[in-house]
């Protein structure tokens, strides 16, 4: 029986991720473009993932889109919410997972995961950017540091600085005020991470935090936020180099199931 290749596309608000899998097990190719919905990002990610695999779109047994911009691609076989896809992707990476914390560009969600990686319940952030990747981007810009440096700098923090977790705009003013008082930038960044953690842990407690806890989404790469969440929730939080691909991975896995169902 010939292998089935499936593609998962995760069109986020700030990044586009694509994964091609073989038989729902092996990742054949992956691509990530740091531009999301409404940009050329999704097309470029799809082009890159196909180039990386040597396949054409027609070679795919099933293509499934997820993420904030999932509705913008009209030629896919199916769409699913990023909620189920992150649950499934996290389960593939960590089969013992029961709780997923996904912090993306403009939303944060916490999922309770059951048998087979199926989502059992979820909560998401309200209409506010606090506690999301966008919040960190805004803060990095004010601090004139690269977003990739935030984790490393926060590790050097020695003093506790409180930054509001209720509003990005007010938090921005607080950071400016701290800078004008010559507060150590590392302490400010640490405060920003704890601010995000405070907001997201509130969501997590609403769903219930059952180990193993896995963090997915772009912000998972920031160990400062992850450690702040561990402190806040008093639980180990696991992540993977593929954390940002979890949605696309889940989409490719669901695509494989659907392909099998379609092919009988």
């Amino acid at each position: 029986m010939s292998a089935v290749f499936t593609m998962g596309i995760d069109v986020g608000s700030t990044a586009s991720k694509c994964i091609i899998m073989k038989d729902g097990q092996e990742i054949v190719s992956k691509a990530l473009i740091s531009s999301g919905a409404g940009t050329s990002g999704p097309d470029r990610a799809i082009r890159d993932v196909l180039e990386g695999s040597g396949f054409q779109r027609e070679d795919m047994g099933y293509i499934l889109a997820t993420g904030y911009g999932r509705h913008s691609i009209d030629w896919v076989d199916a769409e699913m919410s990023e909620l189920s896809c992150h649950a499934q992707g996290a389960f593939h990476l960590f089969p013992e997972v029961h709780t997923v914390i996904d912090i993306g560009g403009q939303d944060a969600k916490v999922l309770r995961v059951g048998k087979g990686g199926m989502m059992e319940s979820f909560v998401m952030n309200d209409k506010c950017a606090a506690g999301t990747g966008r919040f960190l981007e805004v803060m990095a810009r004010i601090l004139e540091v690269d977003i990739g440096q935030l984790a490393e700098l926060s590790e050097k923090s020695t003093q506790k600085v409180d930054i509001s977790s209720t509003c990005t705009v007010f938090a921005e003013s607080e950071v400016i005020s701290q800078l004008s008082q010559n507060t150590d930038i590392c302490d400010i960044i640490n405060g920003i991470h704890r601010s995000v953690a405070g907001r997201v842990s509130g969501l997590a407690r609403r769903v219930g935090v059952t180990p193993m806890v896995v963090m997915t989404g772009g912000v998972a790469q920031n160990s400062g936020v992850r450690h702040a969440l561990e402190d806040e929730l008093q639980v180990d939080i696991h992540t993977s180099e593929l954390a940002q691909y979890a949605g696309a991975l889940g989409a490719a896995l669901f695509a494989f199931r659907k392909a099998k169902k379609r092919n009988g």
Binding site: Y68, L83, M118, M119, F122, M124, D126, R206
Partner: protein
């Protein structure tokens, strides 16, 4: 499924009833008679018995919001100094009372106010402000805090005294005498309307349902503004008869697949009603339960039972009664999930929902998903967030169905 054409007749009758309520108010104003503004669950029997014309700010605010005027009036109220996190209906009403025009749903300015805090506590301050603006009497009925299923005799006594005090004040305002016989007749009409409303709502029990539950949101206007009128009872009886016919014919006002059935919890986001509806119809999710059915479908015998009934509004009953109302209709109407509107305008409603959510999951074993929104202010709603949550609910219901095989 084919569309129900016969449904149009009852819908038109119901629309006419509400239109007549507002026309009566304009006519009364023109004749120089006093016109009242009333909260939605103030005993309507009093004004009806005395023949006083009354308008309903909550109904007006919903209509203005549905016609996209909500944000404009909310912003007008904010420029008057009212905070943007108080109730959207209150902001719209305060702006209108202050003279901001609303072509979307005009109504005459008030000469007296009828306020009952059973529907919410913000109502008291909202109406006090209007009373000061217009320097007019505010007739208040205070429903005591209730953390028990039954309404105590002390509460009934307290409510009854307020009821007759309101009667006395309104006799003075109207220059008319209270007529017990007329009151009995009005009560009979109200009971007939309640029974017909409950009967119409009960057709949601059929699978597939002969109606889209969103229809009930629109018909609420009649229950709120015209419960005591015989034509309202007749219109709801006609609606129930049409649903009966639809069941026989296998037709429905819901023109899509009925893959799943849900309870929609809370007041809808009127400014974005279509946006609320679209992902539901796309996924074949019909709303077959709304709490307004039991909350406004009350039948009583005499003043004491009437007082007990007015103690029971969604935001004034204890959590056990609130859970019973909802779980009752969820079971009867066989829902697969619950979609909860965390309404930025309604703090009490949003305040008790986390515990109710927990109860629904535990007692009903169905997924419950919440979204943030607002009944009147579109600035508090995000379409993308809403769509993702509805899809999440759909995927949870799919998974549940998969488990059941």
């Amino acid at each position: 499924m084919s569309e129900v054409n016969s449904g149009k007749k009852a819908r038109e009758m119901l629309q006419d009833v509400v239109a007549q309520v507002y026309q009566n108010a304009w006519d009364a104003k023109e004749r120089g008679e006093p016109v009242g503004w009333s909260s939605s669950k103030f005993p309507a029997e009093i004004a009806e018995t005395l023949g006083l014309a009354v308008c309903y700010p909550e109904n007006q605010a919903a209509a203005i919001s549905a016609k996209k005027g909500g944000q404009r009036l909310c912003e007008e109220a904010e420029s008057m100094g009212f905070a943007n996190d108080i109730c959207g209906y209150a902001r719209i009403s305060l702006a209108y009372a202050a003279g901001v025009e609303a072509e979307e749903k005009p109504m005459p300015q008030p000469d007296f106010l009828l306020c009952c805090n059973n529907i919410c506590n913000c109502m008291t301050k909202w109406y006090e402000n209007i009373a000061r603006m217009h320097n007019i009497p505010l007739i208040m009925m205070d429903v005591p805090y209730n953390n028990e299923v039954d309404v105590s005799e002390d509460t009934v006594k307290y409510m009854r005294a307020q009821f007759y005090d309101a009667v006395a004040q309104l006799e003075k305002i109207s220059g008319r005498k209270w007529d017990e016989k007329r009151f009995e007749e009005v009560s009979k009409n109200a009971n007939r309307t309640a029974q017909a409303w409950l009967k119409a709502c009960s057709y949601c029990q059929y699978e597939p349902s002969p109606l889209s539950g969103f229809d009930l949101f629109n018909h609420m206007a009649d229950v709120v503004t015209a419960r005591c009128k015989p034509e309202t009872a007749e219109a709801f009886e006609a609606l129930a008869a049409e649903y009966e016919e639809s069941v026989k014919n296998g037709t429905s006002t819901w023109k899509y697949e009925e893959n799943y059935r849900i309870m929609f919890e809370g007041i809808p986001c009127w400014p974005v009603l279509r946006t609320l509806f679209t992902p539901l119809k796309d996924k074949g999710i019909n709303t077959v339960a709304v709490v307004y059915a039991p909350a406004f479908g009350f039948v009583y015998n005499g003043v004491d039972e009437l007082m007990k009934a007015y103690c029971k509004a969604p935001n004034s009953v204890c959590i056990e009664t609130g859970v019973d109302w909802r779980e009752g209709i969820c079971r009867e109407n066989k829902v697969d999930g619950v979609l909860v509107h965390y309404n930025r305008s309604c703090k009490p409603w949003s305040g008790y929902m986390p515990e109710m959510e927990r109860r629904f999951r535990k007692d009903l074993g169905v997924p419950v998903v919440g979204f943030d929104g607002d009944q009147a202010d579109p600035r508090n709603f995000s379409e993308a967030q809403y769509v993702t949550r509805v899809e999440g609910l759909y995927e949870l219901m799919e998974a549940n169905k998969g488990k059941r095989g």
